[in-house]
Symmetry: D2
Subunit: 481 residues, 4 copies
């Protein structure tokens, strides 16, 4: 590590080795070679066997990973052209093929196709991380499906729900994120073999005007690079709209994780739910006892940055002039890795946090009991109406006492005595005993929350995880906190 220049914290602190590798020089330059191999193979298969011989192909395939970076770097310094420098270095390793490497292609042939190959791989990595988080959270949700807890609107106590039910809300959003990943994967294609401004002019010349062969070349290259199609048309590059969709897809994951993390930070203040806490973890120097929700906080900040990146891609796409302008280069070079690395870091945290969250039912119950009389007011209203009282009038009476009881809690830090107040009010047709009875089974206030949780997990999540079981790999969610 160099201590006298800036180090990118995404790499030094937050992300997985897999993702860092995907955006490394090594991945880039070896993928360039795979593109050249794909092109040469396709040319050979389509009949250019005397120009591109089987021997050359063998040589090229054998040297995909055999790169002398220093030679390439020196050549680049000299001719100021990275692609040509690597054509040169590859040529040194493949003396027979040297003349046909990159035949008919321009720089963007390797640059765009490599970008797309790497992005697709990175998206699959993200997809896996998201599935892991879904799995963890669904297990948590099932485990807590029947724990009644305060539901909040305006961050004020509303009607009760269950812990598990609340977590299905995040899960449903994650499923939508997954749908958008899959939609993105449907849209992304290879750039194929398109030529300088996308007209395939050099390839048409190479194939002596045979349009069908050039179309096949385009498709063959795509297939060899792992795509079922190439973009039907391109300018010099693949459409930068694809990048915008990429950014939005990832930002969606960031937004879901952000909502989850903020809720957890609030729950942590309430002391009812916590992120996992490692034994050796220290709070601040002065406050030994604190269990700061640092992972959720970190996640929040990373997601804030991620959610703001699609804007850049939109700006770049919308301001590309004609077949291509180079104002896309520096910004994509930073933002495409950044948005994947941020998502990677976020999912690492998300998987880590959801792997072992702690719930404190006693605290939950304490809060619930303190608010239950307020929450029962709707039930009391309904029962009173059943008894023939006017809903409007009852509403007024209940409101009056609610506010008074609430005032007492706030102004004198007393316990909530709403039921007592109601029982003592002649207009209310219930005794304190009857009122206490009404609130005794507080899980009854949670309506279908538990059932909804079961249904959602059984009908949506389980089939999803089952369908993806072969594609899910454990990820390393250990953190340096």
């Amino acid at each position: 590590m160099q201590r006298d220049i800036y180090q990118e914290p995404l790499v030094s602190r937050y992300t997985s080795k897999e993702m860092q590798n995907l955006f490394s020089e090594k991945t880039k330059f070896t993928t360039w070679r795979r593109c050249w191999v794909a092109l040469a193979e396709a040319q050979h298969e389509l009949g250019l066997t005397d120009i591109v011989t089987a021997e050359m192909l063998d040589e090229m395939r054998a040297n995909v990973e055999n790169i002398d970076y220093d030679i390439a770097a020196q050549k680049e310094k000299e001719i100021r052209h990275d692609v040509m420098a690597h054509v040169y270095e590859y040529g040194l390793k493949c003396p027979k093929a040297a003349g046909i490497i990159h035949l008919g292609a321009t720089s963007q042939f390797v640059v765009c196709n490599t970008d797309l190959v790497v992005q697709k791989k990175a998206m699959l990595l993200i997809r896996n991380g998201l599935l892991q988080a879904i799995k963890n959270l669904s297990e948590f949700s099932r485990k807590t499906k029947d724990i009644a807890t305060l539901g909040f609107t305006h961050y004020q106590p509303a009607q009760p729900t269950t812990v598990g039910k609340r977590n299905t809300l995040y899960l449903q959003d994650m499923v939508m994120d997954l749908a958008y990943i899959d939609n993105y994967l449907d849209q992304v294609k290879a750039r194929g073999a398109k030529g300088t401004v996308g007209t395939q002019a050099t390839f048409l010349e190479l194939f002596k005007g045979d349009h069908e062969k050039v179309r096949k070349l385009d498709l063959l290259v795509a297939e060899k690079l792992g795509f079922s199609e190439s973009f039907a048309v391109t300018g010099q590059t693949y459409t930068r709209k694809m990048d915008m969709k990429l950014g939005e897809t990832l930002a969606g994951i960031g937004a879901t994780a952000h909502k989850f993390a903020v809720d957890l930070r609030l729950l942590s203040n309430l002391k009812v739910q916590e992120e996992p806490f490692e034994k050796k973890q220290t709070g601040s120097s002065a406050m030994a006892y604190k269990r700061n929700p640092m992972r959720s906080e970190r996640l929040t900040g990373l997601a804030r940055k991620l959610m703001n990146l699609p804007q850049n891609f939109a700006g770049t796409y919308a301001n590309q002039w004609f077949e291509r302008t180079l104002d896309d280069s520096a910004i994509r070079r930073m933002d495409i890795p950044q948005c994947f690395l941020l998502t990677d870091a976020i999912l690492k945290l998300f998987v880590n946090i959801t792997s072992d969250m702690v719930v404190f039912p006693a605290q939950i119950k304490k809060y619930l009991l303190a608010e239950l009389p307020f929450m029962a007011t709707e039930k009391i209203l309904m029962k009173a109406v059943e008894k023939g009282e006017s809903r409007q009038e009852m509403h007024e009476v209940v409101k009056e006492h609610s506010l008074a009881a609430g005032k007492e809690v706030k102004e004198n830090a007393k316990e909530n005595d709403l039921l007592k107040r109601l029982a003592e009010d002649g207009r209310i047709p219930f005794s304190l005993e009857e009122l206490n009875e009404m609130v005794s089974d507080y899980s009854a206030f949670t309506g279908r929350a538990e059932k909804q949780t079961e249904e959602f997990l059984d009908e949506v999540i389980s089939p999803l995880l089952l369908a993806n079981r072969n594609e899910m790999a454990e990820i390393d969610s250990s953190l340096s906190v």
Copy 2:
């Protein structure tokens, strides 16, 4: 029009009546009533026939549009609750049903479901506008498929392409926008009947604990409102992630239109292509002759605003606490209409511009001829290599003369004499005659551009338009310029 207070320009200047109506009070309040009708019908159908009678349903259905807004407004002022005020006013019109309107529901039952109904309708309106623009542009593209023109990279002349081919690039992006609209329409569902914090507690009570009936109620309401499903789970509102996806879907259209419009503004400077110009349209007071690309400029500005709105939805979604916080209210009230109105205005312009664009082939040809010698350098290189020359060496020679010829053009505003220079250089194995021959058929430099255009229009666009032919309605793209 009130002249002493601010008027929203989106309404007064840029948008269609249809879209303005969709976000009006009238649409909102009548849709609320449709939600109440749907709920009552579903309750009736599921067996609550003695509480919700057929007679009540008739009454409710008959009064959906019969709203006395002043009474509702006055009631709202009094009780400070818009939904209850309209329950009251609806009750005045439906004396028999008065007691069962909104039965078991909370405000968000009408608010969320109405939002979703309106958004879906608005999205279909947008979808139609986009199809119109696709249709116009595909016709333009076909008409100009074989007009050779300068391709630009770095906004510097690169290899030639065709006008039609360039326009397939926009078309391909528009098809992707359409795919994202369709994906959004797949994701959007009704909120259904979910209750205060989404637990359906009041409905479960109403149906005496019969979970299946409550699930059916939820689905029935959704179907009656035009959806095939409702969200499996909700908090107090439907997930605000849906709004984020809404914003992104529309921003995608804005971005495509922006790229198109900027290109057209540049073409307009080159005097090779123009937006339609109305006879009576005046330039500025002092510059009578100017044909300013005002529609494209307006489109650019509107799209810039649109592309920035998804950020707001992301922020709102990611910062919703638990079952719902009200920081979503004011911002959604502005931004959801704004993003639809902006897209509506953009598509109106896009359809208008693409309906009658003018191309000036003589100008195009002039530019092409001035650059063709430069553009032919690749061809000359290839031919020289075929003759046994070293590509690297030829590259250097050609580069040297290219720069010199370019210098002459720039520094002395002379014609391009590159071919003459090359012919006179002994290292180049071609005569001036041969070189002139090489550039004579300039459409040959466009490679597969024409063919690609045909293929794309035949294989992608035509089937798309055919499949949607019944859903496309002419839109009014007249403008107040």
Copy 3:
């Protein structure tokens, strides 16, 4: 109110009449006339007395507010040029001056100068609102300067501070916002009289090549419009960088208010501090007792939108080509009013909320007492070190018991028994009595918080309010909640 088309909610719901008026057609068109009067007067004063006569000036001055909007609108429809239409209508009212209205000017003379006049006035309105909020909050801060309360880091209890001290943090940020307003007001200038592309060519001709007179004309016009200077140079319009600075200045206020509002929403959950609550205000239909922090939530949402607008201005400025492109028009037409109206709405809420906030000291104390043993750990550590114990060792012991006590609170919802645990541990050199003594005066834990508050209010805020006392006008902060 039209019920069948969209109504801008900023106008119909949230903002002051003053701000709505500033962005009305009436203000725009009468200010145009003031610009024409200023120009004519300056031309007259600089010697063009036979072209621009005193009589004409009288006529023009007399008809500034005398506008027949229908005639102007009809003319605009005909000639499609709003400025010329108003020149025409003004001419109808001023038959003598008709020929010299707008003499030597182009449209942007009235458009830009009017924009700047209106923006400056609007900024002064905002400045006043901000001062009102500062005044309210400083009074609250002084009143609560000595109320000890939990300080939070990570939204976990940290060391105590005071309520007043916490509020000085918002105040300090508001003072910075004010400094940026004043900086903006220093930077904003008139556009003056600059001509089509800013070269003053027509004016130079008018003054027969007299450069000095043209410079004076420019300055005179600026002064007559209330500025001490005009921009030294312009293209067709004043620099759009100014709009970017405008947006940032206002967004700063939004951000400060947002932070304040979010804190208040959290305090409201804790039941320790609340926004004012009107007697008649109703919670939701089902939850009568709730005191939802609706104003703070509304403020949060409005601020979120405001904070995102500078981006638009930056994009417009950075993409203006040469002397001006029209992609600024539609977006500025929306965004400049929007950012002022949003800030106006935010300040109305901010002033309203801070005018009568409620604090519940009993609740505050309850929280404090529950956490104080934890908070005293630093003090206990220091005292133990004074007694010769190793800080590192004590830290470990205290940490162990802190975590255990915290666990008891969370897992069993018990009271905090940390001090008892410490007293019983032989390694800690203090009795329970001594430990209780250490936490007895909890205001001692607040350090200089009270003093800092006094100093800040006395040394920063009071002088500021004093210096601005003549410029502050009461604003109407009543809301429609």
Copy 4:
């Protein structure tokens, strides 16, 4: 360079060593030590001479740069606390002072103060770069003050201006950027010595309740760190509003540079102005002759990213809860360096480009002559009105012929024959000779452009550069293109 993990391109490609160093670990950790020295010195000076001895101070000062990073890193790994790890390592080097390093402070004492010290230094570096760009551009502007050129509105030819005058527009914006830098430097202060949540509790204890000494400590520390003040009040950290202002200040520079660069890219297409081009620079592999405006394009992309960063700071600031939440940490760790590095890269490019821009007067003249007849229409109108013709009628006639002449140019790629057309129209009271005469001196059409340029350079720029002459240092603007 590690080839198997992602490398931040800002560092590896675009920025200055100075800026990279400022955000390095070395700068951070040595500045932490400077903070500790400042604190100890101040404590000593304020009377704690027996706790903090002169000998300790010597020891501490001697070891500021003497850091064993590996020991610190290992300790951090063990105790998971970076500040405490460095206190430990510093203590190893300073055995006498070991017990008083960091006395009474919390982590944010070193973290915040170091952040502010580094940011201030970085801002001064940026200020210098901006001044260099101003200097370069003002020289270019003076050199080209009288070169008449097409002014553009809507990117359509408008009235002529001069090259120099156009460049004063960028200069004026840069001067505004400088004013905002200076305003930022006025606002930024030290965090001083504030304690855990900003109450200075530990310091008050240390000084036995002496408030004045604690205030002095705060100020002394600030002064020793190079600030004239510390923030009057803080929470756990300095206000994150400061970061928002930081981001806006830098984004302003990005926006100015972006506008400049886009204009230059357009001029480059017109072949009238170019960025410097190095001899060895190659275009793309296939297009040897191209002089792509790659620096301006790169600048455009970098600026797009920079302009989007203030949003992040606004979001972080506005969502900080109470005295501090940690969601600021990861995002600031990335975005503060990023925004400085981006600005650094942009200014490097800006200085490089403006150091040696090329203008092609012959091309400029060609364009001007082609448009001049159109441009002269205003003059012709005025002359005709002087001769007694109706302006409205003449306007119509001129417009008619302008459009026809323009049509001829576009449709048949012919020369502009407007004057001939006018001369032949009996309604126009001028002969062709007279009309030619009117356009002969085309510099006459530039109004005060040259004069304005002189005035602006003499009255605004020269004094500014003079006032800053001692603070300007040459910067290395060499690029790796």
